[in-house]
Subunit: 338 residues, 4 copies
């Protein structure tokens, strides 16, 4: 950590602050320039009160030089992480396809979709039972009933299952029925919920917040990991910008940044990122080409009558065609499906 | 609602869709132009499945022309709302000052601050007992112990109190100790939490999400109102942009937009928006000048040793000076304190 | 175009406006709903004064349903455009690689780089002679001298050349020396400059503005095309967002959107978009995978001593390795180099 | 300037880089921590090649600690600048009102508006003769004819005049007819144009770019100042964000930041920032309350038939009412009109 000191600071004031800091056991390095004076802080910063320093009138700014996340940090865990979700692996050797409907609508619908996506190589069935919706008057999901259908579809097809959870109560239910929990974009900084899912020890898919920086995202992963689950995958699903031609702006460079900063696997969701069915294929190929470990793709038996997010869902034929198109890209990545 | 139809759509496909829509009891108005064909939908749209229409391949886009929030909508409730929080009123006739520390640290600290802010005209004491922090390793608040100190400070000074809640469990505790609940920016779309606070029927301060549109914000208010509380105030606290000179970008035009769209009171928080102590005074004056109904200002007995957000907190002398500076602006607004 | 009429508008006021509009030769379609009244406008909108309508107090908003660009619009020119730059083609059948230094530094340097990039398959040599720099005290380019080196390098190697122009004066000079003109991001809406480059009839690479919407970008292309050049390629080079881990956020979904809206070729510049050398390879592969017609990649003989943008430049070995890595992706795209 | 060194850097590599730097005459301060090693650079940084250092593989990042603008920097010029435009002063003692139509349409129109705005206290007449428009098919201004009308209106009323310039050619013409030049948002980083206006030595109003950081903005001012004009005022006119309820997001905290970083006067343009007539009054009052030195407000004799930007223009009665409303705020600011 580096403190930039304000010009015109007196020797006495500077000396006094340095003594206070060293008193806590940290070491300091003073560097006086013609234009600027800086103080480097060395040692265990958890010993000091950062805000006290920041509020010190002689400090112009504090420049952090190390990240606040540890368990998610590649520096302390250089090898990429692989973990299992039921029988499928997520990690550097596999391309994991998570597919299914935005919202679970009925047992028959889900089973029918589960069979179709399995046939094309998906290994994890996604399906929303708790739907966070902008308006309170929109369909909010089948809740526990939807979870039971997920369980049934899993038993029938052998697919692993993932479901978004939106409250401590939902975590409790989902724990009994599905294999992986999902934290949605709107809840990425719902820290109480992050702790709850962490406590289950289950695999977790953590979606990026609508305007979350990569550092905030990794700190959110740290909440889950420090609460008990080491099986966290990060899902890029588009960020909010001024551009309105797509629902969000898919940030594929985030995949590259994450591969440098963390050992956790990275999944890309082109369906939610763009909200446009026709863009799922080209952006899925792009995601594989730049290093993603998996894809989340919405598939529906009848997109024109889906209860949620129809415009971005693929029907079975379209999904089959996308998967066929992706095969050579997966081969190029040196990975195998699932 | 207006449907823009894709060029080259056949008569038959268009006719078929129109029949499906009219079958639900809605009326349609067809308008064929040389360049574009549109279908206007008239009637109760809750009867139809919007996503089914959106997914129809002949529909280029759907243009909503009415808002999805009703209880918060000025169209259906033209008069501005006033509500009481303990003995203070929030509404068009008052300028409500909510002040106090970012985080409650001890009973003595809180009482000392409560007395100081009351002396300057604040009527609501703010203080964080549950602190949502980016890193799991930062101070997370005193929780229920902090709430008890809030209650004690209220009994001693007569001030109303407000505290952020971050989980259903925190709502349950806060209900017993404070007069108004706060939803923080990170939880603006934590819909389960919105429903929980709504059910209490208590006054709620709803902060704007980091990158929430005004429409999403009003829909979040609708969640609270439709769950049982009509006493919602909206708090503008800065939005996330590319500018890094301030922590966030305070959007004062949002105050003007809200005054057109909703009857709910609007509070401005310049402390969190900018993160800079020196900007609190000028931006507080600006907020009053453009129509805000109140201000949330961080005050701390010893900002240089605050456990949270020291750099933006005012000390007692600074707060007294700000309040003195604001007096003529409050007078110009035709309002009275509290 | 659709006009949404304000509630409580009188019949007389609405009737009056409709008569005024029809008087200009346009047709209108009136659609009255329980909640909203809309007027559809059909015919040649260039006949009417849009701002007059927008300012009419009974109009709540105007919703455009067609784009304002014509020459760049895929609707009126469905086939993708191919054009030649010297001996190389840009279009749907080729993958055009534009490589070279950010800034031209000397004749030897440029020639040495030209040979190296040609050896790997690049067909267009890029090099900056006019450098728009944030600070007036930074190196601003060799200007006409740099252009002469570009010409010499072209004659020696046979490569086509591209150079950014920043003023009418620079256009005049560049016209004599290079094969393609580039408009930089900061000048995307420098309309006078767009007209100047259009008048030359030369091929133009139009970079996206830092926060330009895709519609504004296509309108900027329209300025060039309506001034005389039909050979315009669009270059995605990252947009400004709140994320600071990369210099800009590369928007690859823009490639997909452009392919739907325009027939013009699309180039991707991962070097400038990210500012990070290590991300050039994965994001180049991603760009090819999602449909780009070419890449712009910075290459320097000695990146550690480059006068401009060293951190993102590849050295010769790195460039060779990137090109090797891209080969199978180019093959998959069904294109051939250059 | 501070260099953060990568972990695992060898002693030899670090030593070598430090020697290279010191060889240029700069001094370095090495600070080795358990987690991080930093090198502080002291002395005249114009002597070294920054990009060479940035490209050095052992450097993780460079952290600048001083600004690159000098002439615009408050550190080297602590007193606020006042300058004259014809007979009016812009600076800390005055509130300068710049009003007039978005586009000059005719001599009569302009004269009529000039008289009206003068009657209410405006001292500078604004009017666009060169209109940068998103589409090439929109009205682009009367050009030199419009400038002549500006001159005539000035002679008749005594008002000073300001006009946007969009090319070197326009600067040449405007120089003869008006008193102050304006650089529009889209040209904020059109550096060639900045140099041209600087060379005239005339007063310049520099609008903030659509997504310009405050640092980029001050560097743009530095271009003008280092080219010959010291009379630069900065105009905040809204930045681009995801919010669509207003045309742009007016960033009033930028006024506060500018007052800390520069001695140049700051003008606020609520008309262009919001695009909504009704928001001009409250946001003008807010701008005055937070320290602006002036306002730019669009006024038109017949907003419903304006050729450009009708929806945000005030008519004469509305402008009179706004100015009446602003009087007490101007009085509170301790300034006088003009």
């Amino acid at each position: 950590m580096i403190l930039v000191i304000k010009p015109q600071t007196t020797e006495a004031a500077l000396e006094h602050m340095i003594q206070e800091i060293e008193h806590t056991g940290l070491h300091t390095h003073l560097s006086k320039g013609e234009e600027v004076t800086i103080v480097g802080l060395v040692g265990d910063k958890t010993k000091i009160d950062l805000t006290a320093i920041e509020a010190n009138p002689i400090v112009e700014k504090i420049i952090p030089v190390t990240e606040s996340y540890k368990l998610a940090n590649k520096k302390f865990h250089p090898e990429p992480t692989t973990f299992a979700v039921k029988d499928t692996l997520i990690g550097p050797d596999t391309m994991t396809i998570m597919s299914g409907p935005c919202a679970v609508e009925s047992e028959e619908q889900l089973l029918c979709i589960a069979r179709a996506v399995k046939a094309q190589g998906a290994t994890i069935l996604r399906g929303g039972a708790y739907k966070p919706r902008t308006s309170p008057y929109s369909f909010q999901g089948l809740e526990e009933e939807g979870l039971r259908y997920m369980k049934a579809a899993s038993q029938e097809t052998g697919l692993a299952t993932i479901c978004e959870v939106t409250s401590a109560h939902a975590v409790e239910s989902a724990y009994k029925y599905v294999d992986m929990l999902q934290i949605g974009a709107r809840n990425m900084q719902n820290f109480e919920l992050l702790k709850e899912v962490g406590k289950t020890g289950m695999p977790v898919l953590l979606k990026r917040g609508l305007s979350a920086t990569i550092d905030e995202w990794l700190n959110a992963a740290e909440y889950i990991m420090s609460s008990g689950s080491s099986k966290v995958a990060l899902c890029e699903r588009g960020i909010r910008t001024y551009e309105t031609a797509t629902r969000n702006t898919l940030d594929l460079s985030a995949v590259c940044v994450l591969k440098e900063r963390t050992h956790l696997p990275v999944i890309v969701d082109p369906s939610h990122a763009t909200g446009v069915r026709a863009f799922v294929e080209p952006l899925s190929a792009a995601a594989i080409a730049c290093g993603a470990d998996g894809l989340m793709i919405e598939v529906h038996n009848d997109p024109a009558h889906a209860l949620s997010d129809g415009p971005q869902s693929l029907d079975f034929d379209q999904f089959a065609s996308v998967m066929e198109h992706l095969k050579p890209y997966i081969a190029l990545s040196g990975r195998t499906l699932g």
